[in-house]
């Protein structure tokens, strides 16, 4: 993936750690449909932030070295 060996190592370690935490945390937990009152609220839905994230992604593409994982068109906005 990355030619930089250190970068490749960091990605592998972080990815493995997060996968392990997620796997351990998930276990066999099942939330039934009747228990989803809180989960169904707008503030619990990541999809409600998509438009805002696209806007922030656009700003980050013009200002940050990192990417936010938002995609975003353009890039030659002339605001560099």
């Amino acid at each position: 993936m990355c030619k930089d060996g250190r970068a490749r190592g960091e990605v592998a370690v972080v990815f493995a750690a997060l996968a392990a935490i997620t796997g351990l945390a998930s276990g066999c937990v099942t939330v039934t449909p009747a228990q989803r009152e809180q989960l169904s609220k707008p503030e619990m839905n990541p999809a409600t932030d998509i438009a805002e994230d696209v806007w922030h992604g656009h700003i980050e593409a013009a200002r940050h070295g990192a990417m936010g994982g938002h995609g975003g068109a353009g890039g030659g906005c002339g605001c560099g």
Partner: protein, 404 residues
Amino acid sequence: MSARGHRATARTLAWLLASACALWVWWGPAGRAQAENRVTMRGQYYRETSTRILQPQVTVTADAPDERLTLGAGYLLDAISSASIASGAAQITGGDKVFHELRHEVTGTVGSRLGEWTLGGFFRYSTETDYISRATGVSVARDLLQRNINLAFSYGLNLDRWYRIVNNLGVRQPWCGGAVPPQGCHKDGLGVGSNFLQVHLFGLNYAHALHKTVLASFHVNYAHQVGPQDNPYREGLLGGIEETHPRIRNRVVMTPSVRWAIPKARLVIEPFYAFYVDDWGMRSHSPELRVHGRVARHVLLRGRYRYYKQTGAFFWRPDGQYVDGDAQCTRAHPENCATADVKVMPWDSHTPGVQLVWEFDGIARHKGLHWLEGGFVEVTYNHAFQHNRYGNARIGNLALSLAF
């Protein structure tokens, strides 16, 4: 902005408003909101010392006839004003004046929900004076374990063409990167002698309801970029040397996050962290905390704080001393690189922000206002304290969304 520029912007804004009204009149009289059809108008604002962006946007999605097929369309205008040398202001305006530019973006989307599967696709075309971007992508998501888990995969492809404005008459020529002389740069084809930038973007998202009040997710993106990735207007900041970055870049970002609802306090706590690394030697860490509070039955208040810190690229030099050359910039030959780009320098920022959302469901119960059901208005303000040459930034957002 010139009078002509003002008129063009006013015409475009008027067209946007008229289009949104026409769509609303067309679909609005259907009466009480029933499906997921929605029109959303947004006005976004970005301001820092030398740059201002105004970004009106309208998006419409409609089920045809239900969630098995959802179509969407959007239009976005970027109105950019900049006095920055790095934006090409001196070349484009013929002097030290404010430079204005418009970027138009249209997007078409299609989605389908079939049982536990969700499919999506989009096409987006973006054009401005010196840049053309075509992007397309597909996504597929699957619910698992009685919808306790959602696993999603996406792929996006950007096919972009770079140009640069070479005088105050707006004459443009293709830009192939600082290592390619103008006579060897072409506006078509592929490879080193072309102005073609392609980006392959892969995304993987895992979301899991860990508890009736806890939703966890993990997102990873990988991007492979090939083509010119330097700015054609920064030679003024580099003593006459063209900015030259590597042509290839591999980027990874990983983002774990959690949403934890506390019903008694009417709060949702959302810690968020993004770790980024690429083969230009850059890394960034970005922890963020959002607190969503339901201050009234239909009013949401959200506070946000984000810290961002990035390291410099392998070819960035603190002394800013670079040599001129026409060879490609690579890790093996960093002496061919030159940059005045803040994006590849080490810096950090602090961004607090606040958002207020008023859902119209409360007033939609009143006679004659049923059509407001499912609608909302959203106001957002963020202030970025940036420790770089751009200085602090004010970021605002106003949105109105109506279901029909």
